[in-house]
Symmetry: C2
Subunit: 618 residues, 2 copies
């Protein structure tokens, strides 16, 4: 059988298998798989270099299904490659099968979860950055993109960054089957539009008939040989290709075919072509950066240092001690202080410009190769990438985010720059860690621990300088807290994080003058939160607790505290102070006061609690 014939047959096999497994599941997106089957047939048989027995091999290419709903095609590839049995293929979408509706990394050969469209290509940019600038290995990143997902702005962020960083190891394969879930895309089959856009963004482009295996072969050859810029293969395809009942027809997205056997017959029946996917060079050794011992910055107690500055200092020190640490920033590195790292470790710093989605996607891509990315921007703008963070958790990704300029304490810039929902949003990410220290030495100690944590780790930092409270040799374990002030006979506990720790201390001073003893807890670890210390405080104070946070009242510290105490036998009575009313511009102190979270409000809440009865349930 000639190569061309073999590829045509393999394409049909991938179609048939897509139909078979979705028929077994009675759901799935076979028509979206069928349009891209020929593209993938040629890719896996001739161009992909991948060792299925060694998915962690540094030399492996990376294949990303940005159009994750075409998962049946990916699984059909696994069967063709001998990685899964036919029986396993047919377990598609059943409970307990690793072959989920959309690919996730519970499959050993899947790097990242896809299924929220517009994410695979930006993540591929991160992988290609790793290959070209960090690992310095010749692996290629192949991303199968749908045409519908080109409406997501994140795809254009990826286009711009890939060209800016000259990622010639990245190939996007654009499956232009014209039809989305509910109808035609804005562009339809006007391939020249995709070409013009891609070229305007600096890409090499190749337009082909996506069902002509000869053209596909030449295109992938040309993509592999193109240097200095990424290539997009723009393939005109037919959705549902090969089965007349659904070919190029609306209304067949996301459903199994009505008559699978007839469709399989129309495609020439079941095939069992086995593809020996080429293995990457066995001697591929990733580049490693030199390291020396960790020397964290040290700050004097009483000194005024912004925690964002401590982040930059500590990250730079960590970068010197760990060659795997990489920094990314969204064009605000002189505010987040990622610029200190950039100056010290320019080879491991990537400027991501004002493209937060791409920044998080790049972090996800980089960590698939074992790098430890720290991305930073204003915490308010982490919200721009929230879907990417959500998906990163499904990707089982581990990376760190630092969000600066928390809350109203930023002052004059006004509410658009104030993160007030970030604790809620980041707490509600599966497996996340959320940290919000109030001073410099604890920040440095936390940064040093962040790189070792699994999952998504979020550090919230402050714009204004705050006094250093703790010595540089103290420890701040993740999940811990710090009782900053206490006595044997505390009347009330004030639980705070970040800027409000300093307000709580002022409140405690004021209360002391009135004979009320306040315990002050610095809950620098908001998730996991230190339930034990909170429980002890509840017990010591007859359950009187005030929480104060520079955040909306929903989903942040206050509710974390309530959750930690919810099931206890002994009850607590919690007054939760969060930002009241939409903040405006002004001085930090003015805004903290107006928001109802300053020392005065904390003290007032404590007074009321101490004066109020605490009764048992009946």
């Amino acid at each position: 059988m000639s190569d061309l014939e073999r590829w045509r047959e393999l394409g049909q096999q991938l179609r048939v298998d897509s139909i078979r497994c979705s028929a077994a599941a009675k759901s799935g997106h076979p028509t979206s798989a069928m349009s891209a089957a020929d593209l993938m047939a040629v890719l896996i048989d001739k161009y992909l270099r991948y060792d299925f027995e060694s998915p962690e091999a540094p030399g492996n290419d990376h294949l990303v299904f940005s159009k994750g709903h075409a998962s049946t095609l990916l699984y059909a590839i696994y069967r063709a490659a001998g990685a899964i049995s036919d029986e396993e293929l047919l377990s598609y979408r059943t409970f307990g099968s690793m072959l989920e509706g959309h690919p996730t990394p519970i499959i050993p050969w899947v790097d990242v979860a896809t299924g929220s469209l517009g994410q695979g290509l930006p993540i591929g940019v991160g992988m290609a950055l790793a290959g070209k600038y960090l690992d310095r290995l010749p692996y290629r990143v192949w991303v199968l993109c749908g045409d519908s997902e080109m409406a997501e702005g994140s795809m254009w962020e990826a286009y711009e960054h890939a060209a800016h960083y000259e990622l010639d190891n990245l190939t996007a394969i654009l499956d232009v089957n014209r039809l989305g879930q509910r109808g035609e895309t804005m562009v339809g089959w006007n391939l020249d539009v995709y070409r013009d856009r891609a070229q305007a963004f600096g890409w090499h482009t190749i337009e082909i008939d996506g069902h002509d295996v000869e053209q596909i072969d030449r295109a992938l050859e040309e993509a592999s040989a193109t240097t200095g810029r990424p290539t997009v293969v723009i393939a005109r395809t037919v959705k549902g290709k090969g089965v007349k009942a659904v070919e190029d027809k609306n209304g067949f997205h996301g459903k199994a075919l009505d008559d699978p056997q007839a469709s399989i017959d129309e495609l020439g029946g079941l095939r069992s072509i086995r593809v020996d996917v080429a293995k990457p060079p066995a001697d591929a050794t990733p580049h490693r950066f030199e390291t020396r011992e960790l020397e964290l910055p040290r700050y004097e107690v009483g000194e005024e240092v912004a925690t964002r500055k401590a982040y930059g200092d500590a990250l730079t020190a960590l970068g010197a001690a760990r060659g795997d640490v990489v920094a990314l920033d969204g064009e605000v590195s002189n505010s987040t202080y990622a610029d200190i790292f950039a100056k010290a470790h320019p080879e491991r710093y990537f400027e991501m410009y004002i493209a937060e989605q791409q920044m998080v996607a790049a972090a996800v891509g980089l960590q698939t190769r074992g790098w430890k990315p720290f991305g930073s921007t204003f915490a308010a703008f982490v919200s721009r990438a929230y879907d990417f963070v959500r998906m990163a958790a499904i990707s089982r990704a581990s990376f760190c985010l630092s969000g600066s300029h928390a809350g109203v304490s930023i002052g004059e810039d006004g509410p658009s720059q104030m993160a007030l929902e970030d604790l809620a949003a980041l707490r509600a990410v599966h497996g996340s860690t959320v940290l919000h220290p109030c001073e410099a030495n604890s920040t440095a100690k936390l940064v040093a621990q962040m790189a070792d944590l699994e999952g998504i780790v979020f550090l919230r930092t402050l714009r204004p300088a705050t006094p250093v409270l703790y010595g540089p040799d103290e420890e701040f374990p993740i999940g811990g807290s710090r009782v900053v002030r206490s006595s044997d006979e505390d009347d009330v506990a004030l639980v705070a994080c970040g800027i409000t720790v300093h307000e709580a201390l002022r409140a405690a001073d004021a209360l002391e003058g009135e004979g009320i003893r306040a315990r002050v807890i610095d809950a620098y670890s908001v998730k996991p939160i230190d339930a034990e210390t909170l429980a002890a405080a509840a017990e010591a104070t007859q359950g009187r607790i005030v929480t104060a946070e520079d955040h909306w009242p929903e989903g942040g510290l206050g509710e974390a505290v309530l959750s930690a105490l919810a099931e206890r036998e002994e009850r607590a009575r919690v007054v939760k102070l969060g930002v009241q009313g939409m903040p405006r511009s002004g001085k930090p102190a003015e805004l903290m006061h107006a928001a109802g979270i300053d020392a005065e409000h904390i003290a007032e809440a404590a007074r009321k609690l101490v004066g109020a009865p605490v009764t048992a349930a009946r």
Copy 2:
């Protein structure tokens, strides 16, 4: 004075005033204002049609500062237009002044808040949609864009949608001053790159020297005369233009000038040119759509109907009764059932394709003109637009979002399609309303109320059909809840929303057989939550409460319940059931069980609570 001379002088005045007010505030972004001053001088003196005394006038043009950090320029315009006094200008960024660091609609002439970059243009698309297709008035939308923000993918979503909808009433003015906050943009002064990209996205383009008022005049003239597509004026400008110490220099972003008086002198000193901004036609009357009486859909008790279907039915009915209701969807209208509305009211439906940021931005833009947008997509993908939702709250915007496919109950499609963080994210939006009904009739009644609420209203709907529990004539007030089942001697309260209401009812059945009486509360209004009913339940059950939600444990129903009860004198003991572990594909019942939120887990939690002691605080 000739027009050209006048514009040059006016440009200098806008620069001087930007320097003056930022000097008074000791902060701000004067250099970012100075690059765009000439562009705005010509615009306001000749092209803008705006009645400052009547900002709600339907015929008014809309001027949006997408580069919101150039706020001093906007405020300098207000002084030139006689809308504010010199004294007010100098109140910039002080507490209580309406002239905030970034523009917000507490200023009567500002439609929307900007300051998170990449949002003004997509919102402008919404305004232009309103002008062309709904109001059917000849007002123009002018959007001043920064070049740095072109790195945000949302700008390219706006480009694509503006061209797709042939928005010739929209003009983007791109201030290419080359320098971002920390350095040069990816494109620099290569204006042709911006031109090629814009053309590839279907825009008319004009390249000019942004400091040559004659060229600016001609460009704005040409933009106004261009039909069938939007225009971008690509202006080469100099950051800090006019003050040699900062002109085209890095390191002067976002700070007041060091020597304001010298800079003002260099610019020729204080000026007080008064611009009589042209007024729009006084007789501009927006188009209105015909209406008839509201006839909500009615479902039979016991019938199985998905709440997403009830959303589509009810929205369609509401659209017939209210001519101001508009629907948008992110290319999933056959899943969210927005397609029912689209068929019934095609003139008021906008397909936003897979571009959730643009969808929310369009909603924000549409509501500035009094329309009532309902945007829909999978609830999981609302996370894609979270920064837009956050900013919309600062914009004091009122619109509705419907997120379908909540939680693990969607089944086989897997975690990428499951919204599990949306309640937390949307609760943490200032002034938001969060609704999650469990059946069809209450959904319909809630949809009817949504259009009248202020702020951002989020309705979470279910993929699977659920039995109708309530009659079609019952009422479901916002902030209320429904006690579905209770007795005089309840032992425990089960609080649920959405799919878990049905699980809680099953759990109550099982418990009844064991002699445990469970009250079941349908908390369809998650924010505001019905604290009174919860308190009564706590009182009736000796504080024994189980919450169950198809959502991560953080920030959703459980914590809303805890917050509602936190300050009560009498204590509750709350067991919070939320999704445990990362879900996979499978049948809804399998996934609900694995997640620990099905009837069996609810009953087990209730049993434990009833058997456990409830003690008072000491």
